[in-house]
């Protein structure tokens, strides 16, 4: 059964190829059967493989299959091959199952769009590329998936290509993530040059054997991999592409934010965690970047009025939690939060899409309102997603994964728990910004007329994801709440045993964090449900307004990069559009021509004139020879 692992990425890839060759001429029913069916089939195979893997684990708790050797030049022999272990298994399941729900939803959401088949071709390619990324045996093959994911995000963000703004957002996503990719690529050069292989498992082994912890080489390698991870996972300072990535259709955002793309960086660091363990300074940097990103993005989310942008900033912030977990060595906590985040973020995006499709694609939350009664399915799914994101205690999956990260951060925090504090503050802000959206969108007066209805292909994914967002967390609970450790036990063969945090202090922190998220929701209720005039007045004072604008633009990163990079680049291009080097040759050509003109004038055809010059020349020659 495990040998069929190659089918998991191959089937969506085949689906994409068929749809591309079909060139938009297939009937839309067939398109949706191929598009959704291929990922469904892939999810089914992935599930069977997982059951097989868990019931009868392969030796070493990992399984490798090589399809063919990509290249073989001397000792450089990367393979097209897959590696299945508990980590890649979880990733594979999340990608295929969440991907399937999103595609099923899309088959209705995108109905009637001109590029229906193009859409499914790109989506299938996206899923295939992500599966290659998580299942690759070699870092080079992983890199192929990595770039493939980047390409598909470009294609899908710019899916509605007739609007140049979408094209700009798509190019921004591709180029900003590619800046990170070059870091990863150079990291690959370094790793191969010094360790002689790119196969991940032997590579990690050789790194631990030949590099002492904290030495230059692992530090450099980890930095380069981190640069790649930051780009794809939209962490500071390469986070700017993600909020603009909203330009694509909403299911695309769901796929990018939940199942694919942005979690690639988290996976990469987890996959190469042994290398990061050798570079404690870099690992600390991962934690700091995560902590900074989650705060920065949460503040930005608090000031958005486009429902998708709120969710986009919340993704950046939540990935910050995963980075924080990675940075403190809580590898399985990061993957746990990745999984739970995939549930509730897919749910939130699909619910947001379900709202906007009924409101003539209105995205502004201030032009929504009162939708709780009119759109109960969308309301309840969005509400459940929001509760899980806000980590409302006990009943939501988000609570358990966030708890796991916070307690691990405390344990690693040392004397001053700055990182932990950042996590807790953000938990409060998260609850505040997402319930702000809930209250503004679903309560109050109706502001935009509602039209249309939902079919089963929209409601079914919403219900399924709602369930997952609620109960998906019970596979791992804190010591004080049952102490279930199914998830971390399963990953133990990859990451080692996770330390158990217990004691009354831990329970107290648990309680504090629960209260914090409830407090956030409560404050949102107080501020946005019962709009207090004093708060409204305060929010409109010039100083506050200035800050809000600043936060609205995502802390002005775009302006900074425009000034530092984009505009200088464009200026250089503009100045040199005609190729300065060519002027050199033009001057040479011009000089020749002028010399020609000059000599041409001397050719007058008058004999007397020539004779005069002859005589003068002879005189000068004689004079020189005599005077010497």
């Amino acid at each position: 059964m495990l040998h069929a692992i190659w089918l998991v990425p191959a089937i969506p890839l085949l689906g994409a190829v068929i749809l591309i060759i079909g060139c938009g001429r297939l009937p839309s029913l067939l398109v949706s059967i191929i598009g959704v069916g291929s990922v469904a089939l892939s999810a089914i195979i992935a599930s069977f493989i997982s059951i097989g893997f868990i019931t009868t684990p392969p030796p070493g708790n990992a399984f490798t299959i090589i399809l063919w050797h990509w290249m073989a030049i001397g000792s450089f022999s990367p393979a097209i091959g897959f590696y299945l272990d508990p980590l890649s298994l979880i990733m594979m399941l999340v990608v295929t199952i969440i991907g399937f729900f999103i595609l099923l939803y899309s088959s209705e959401f995108m109905a009637g769009d001109e590029g229906y088949s193009r859409f499914f071709a790109y989506m299938n390619l996206f899923v295939a590329a992500m599966l290659v990324l998580v299942l690759a045996r070699d870092l080079l093959f992983l890199y192929a998936g990595w770039e493939g994911v980047g390409l598909c995000s470009y294609l899908l963000i710019g899916f509605w290509y007739q609007d140049p703004a979408n094209g700009l957002a798509a190019r921004k996503a591709f180029i900003v993530t590619r800046i990170g990719d070059t870091g990863l690529m150079i990291g690959l050069f370094l790793l191969f040059t010094h360790l002689g292989t790119l196969e991940i498992q032997p590579l990690m082994l050789r790194a631990t054997q030949s590099w002492p912890a904290g030495s230059t080489m692992p530090t450099l390698a980890a930095v380069l991999i981190l640069i790649g991870a930051i780009g794809k996972s939209a962490q500071i300072p390469l986070q700017t592409w993600l909020p603009d990535a909203m330009a694509g259709p909403t299911p695309v955002s769901a796929l990018i934010h939940a199942a694919t793309m942005v979690t690639a960086g988290v996976y990469l660091i987890a996959r190469t965690h042994m290398l990061f363990a050798l570079a404690p300074a870099v690992q600390m940097a991962v934690a700091v970047i995560g902590a900074a990103t989650l705060l920065v993005a949460a503040f930005a989310a608090l000031n958005q009025h486009d429902i998708k942008r709120i969710l986009a900033y919340s993704t950046i912030s939540q990935i910050g939690y995963m980075f924080l977990a990675l940075g403190v060595g809580a590898w399985s906590a990061a993957i746990f939060h990745f999984m739970v985040h995939a549930f509730f973020k897919a749910l939130l995006f699909l619910a947001a899409g379900a709202i906007t499709m009924r409101l003539h694609h209105e995205h502004d939350i201030f032009r929504m309102g009162g939708l709780a009664r009119r759109l109960p399915v969308a309301f309840w799914s969005f509400f459940i997603g929001a509760a899980s994101l806000a980590a409302l205690p006990l009943i939501t999956a988000g609570f358990y994964s966030k708890e796991m990260i916070l307690s691990a951060t405390w344990a690693e925090g040392g004397r001053i728990p700055v990182l932990w504090a950042a996590g807790v503050i953000t938990a409060f802000l998260t609850s505040l910004y997402i319930f702000r959206a809930v209250f503004i969108v679903f309560f109050g007066d109706l502001k935009t007329p509602v039209s249309g209805h939902y079919g089963p292909r929209i409601t079914l994914p919403l219900i399924a994801l709602s369930l997952l967002a609620l109960i998906g967390g019970f596979v791992e609970t804190p010591e004080g709440l049952g102490g279930i450790t199914l998830f971390s036990k399963f990953l133990a063969s990859v990451f080692g045993e996770a330390p158990v945090v217990s004691g009354s202090a831990a329970n107290l922190r648990l309680l504090a964090a629960s209260l914090v998220s409830l407090a956030g929701a409560g404050l949102a209720y107080a501020l946005y449900m019962r709009s207090s005039p004093r708060f409204t007045a305060w929010a409109a004072t010039p100083a506050v307004l200035g800050w809000r604008r600043f936060l609205f633009t995502g802390w002005g990163f775009d302006r900074l990069y425009n000034a530092l990079a984009v505009r200088p680049f464009l200026a250089i291009v503009r100045v040199n559009r005609n190729d300065a080097v060519d002027y050199v040759y033009q001057i040479i050509a011009l000089t020749c021509r002028m010399a020609h003109q000059f000599l041409h004038q001397s050719q007058t055809g008058r004999i007397r004139w020539y004779a005069g010059w002859l005589a003068a020349g002879s005189l000068v020659t004689i004079a020189i020879s005599v005077l010497q």
Binding site: M71, I73, A144, P164, R171, R178, I179, F189, I572
Partner: protein, 503 residues
């Protein structure tokens, strides 16, 4: 003797095609197609005939070698040799040659006879360059390649064709003359050393020279090759020539002719002058990196789609220059793949540009936009090759660039890191081309016909080739290995030590 036919068949085809136009306008097309297909069969026969290259004592491994007396008084012989490297390049030449004939079918309607004569003679000259093992013969074929291309640009080119053709001619001819002087100098130095006056490659290998002499003679060779390649700052003929040439001319120029520069560096410069080459390597690698970045910046700024593709060639060939002077097996295999992949992807982009010009009568991208709606097939193919050219893994260009950079990293990490930045700029120019041409609001009013069957067939072949190169390049490595071993016999691995000094 088969080797001589390899070179002669296109030439004979050209001689027949010229007068055939008097008989029927389409006759030259069929004759050219037949001549090139026959030539391809000869090549495949040569290839399959000797599964293992023959080991010729002191000369390395060759699939076939031919030596005929030519001008024995001056030590000149008609000496040809086919090894793995030249085989791949001749294959590329013939493949793109056949494609050029097909895509000119409807584009070229005037003086078809003379057009095909020039096309085939250029190809014949190029094949000669890839086969010649006598330096005089090499120079001779170098010139054969040049003159017909001049006519192709000057007679069938676009609005500014005379300027472009003369510029192309002067650059190539000027640098070619310097190479001739260098060839003569090498022959004289060799005569002074050994007493025999010869132009034979094998005999000139290993000629002992003063370091300064070696450097100067090598620079003479290098000048011709970097102009052809082209490397910054000798590249400015290229955007004009590529832009003004008819589509077939652009395809042959970019796909094949530029490779003769790389081939010259590989076959002659490093093996003949290993010491000078290792001293020169940092300079050459710097030029390579500058070319990568500079070409990409200029490509990004262009409005003329053919100029954009032309400057992207400068960037791609910068990788080739970088890889050649890294001179280890990884980088050299990368160079081979990069040459093939660039030939395919850039050729396809020029065909796309030509098809656009045929339909919209302009190359100005500010007048394109939104073509996806009207021309979905052409747009999808254009985007595919734009993506190939920005180096997406799974397609051939990635293999070339990755191996070159990996090999360069082992020779000189700093250059590899700088070269990797070209991956970002490549994304910038490739995607802006897609945006300006295929995406955006539809501008071109007239709905024109999409690609027709022959073009689609050509594109399908090119797409298959670039995917094959990207997913399973091993056969190319296997063929190239013997050729690279011939080159590396003179200088085994690396012109530089790991810290960037010449050994």
């Amino acid at each position: 003797m088969m080797l001589a036919w390899l070179m002669a068949l296109p030439a004979i085809g050209g001689l027949l095609a010229w007068p055939a136009a008097l008989w029927h306008r389409a006759a030259p097309r069929w004759i050219s197609l037949a001549a090139l297909t026959l030539d391809l069969l000869v090549l495949l026969h040569l290839w399959s005939g000797s599964s293992a290259p023959i080991d010729i004592t002191g000369r390395g491994q060759w699939i076939a070698i031919l030596q005929l007396p030519w001008i024995p008084q001056l030590g000149i012989s008609f000496q040809l040799g086919l090894d793995g490297l030249s085989l791949l390049l001749v294959l590329l030449t013939l493949g793109l040659g056949i494609i050029s004939v097909i895509i000119s079918w409807t584009e070229i309607t005037e003086r078809t006879g003379f057009f095909h004569f020039n096309l085939l003679w250029t190809l014949s000259g190029t094949i000669g360059v890839f086969l010649a093992l006598d330096l005089f013969l090499f120079f001779f074929t170098w010139e054969i390649m040049l003159v017909p291309m001049y006519f192709l640009i000057a007679l069938w080119g676009h609005e500014n064709r005379t300027y472009a053709a003369i510029k192309f001619f002067l650059f190539t001819q000027g640098s070619g003359l310097v190479m001739l002087l260098a060839i003569l100098a090498l022959a004289f130095v060799h005569q002074r050393e050994t007493g025999t006056f010869t132009f034979s490659y094998f005999q000139l290998l290993g000629t002992k020279m003063q370091p300064a002499t070696e450097m100067w003679i090598m620079l003479g060779f290098i000048l011709a090759f970097v102009v052809k390649l082209p490397a910054v700052p000798f590249h400015t003929w290229l955007p004009d020539a590529h832009t003004q040439a008819p589509t077939a001319g652009s395809v042959i120029l970019a796909g094949v002719l530029l490779k003769t520069g790389a081939y010259g560096l590989l076959r002659f410069v490093v093996p003949l002058f290993p010491l000078a080459a290792s001293r020169f390597a940092p300079v050459a690698m710097l030029l390579g990196v500058i070319g990568i970045i500079y070409g990409a910046l200029l490509a990004f700024g262009q409005n003329d789609i053919k100029r954009l593709v032309a400057y992207s060639s400068v960037s791609h060939l910068g990788f080739v220059l970088l890889g050649i002077f890294a001179w280890n097996t990884l980088a050299l295999q990368g160079v081979v793949v990069q040459m093939l992949a660039h030939g395919i992807s850039t050729g396809a982009l020029f065909i796309t540009a030509g098809a656009l010009q045929e339909r919209l009568h302009t190359r100005d991208m500010s007048r394109f936009g939104g073509l996806w709606a009207n021309l979905p097939r052409l747009s999808a193919i254009g985007m595919f090759f734009a993506i190939a050219s920005l180096g997406l893994p799974g397609l051939g260009n990635f293999i070339g660039e990755f191996l070159i950079l990996l090999g360069t990293y082992q020779a000189h990490p700093a250059f590899a890191v700088a070269g990797t930045l070209g991956v970002i700029t490549a994304a910038a120019y490739a995607l802006i081309m897609v945006q300006k041409t295929f995406h955006g609001p539809p501008r071109a009013a007239a709905p024109a016909a999409d690609l027709h069957a022959p073009h689609m067939a050509v594109m399908a072949v090119l797409i298959a080739a670039i995917i094959w190169l990207g997913l399973y390049p091993q056969p190319v490595f296997d063929v190239a290995t013997s050729g690279l071993a011939n080159l590396q016999a003179a200088t085994p691995d690396g012109l530089l030590l790991a810290d960037g000094r010449p050994p």
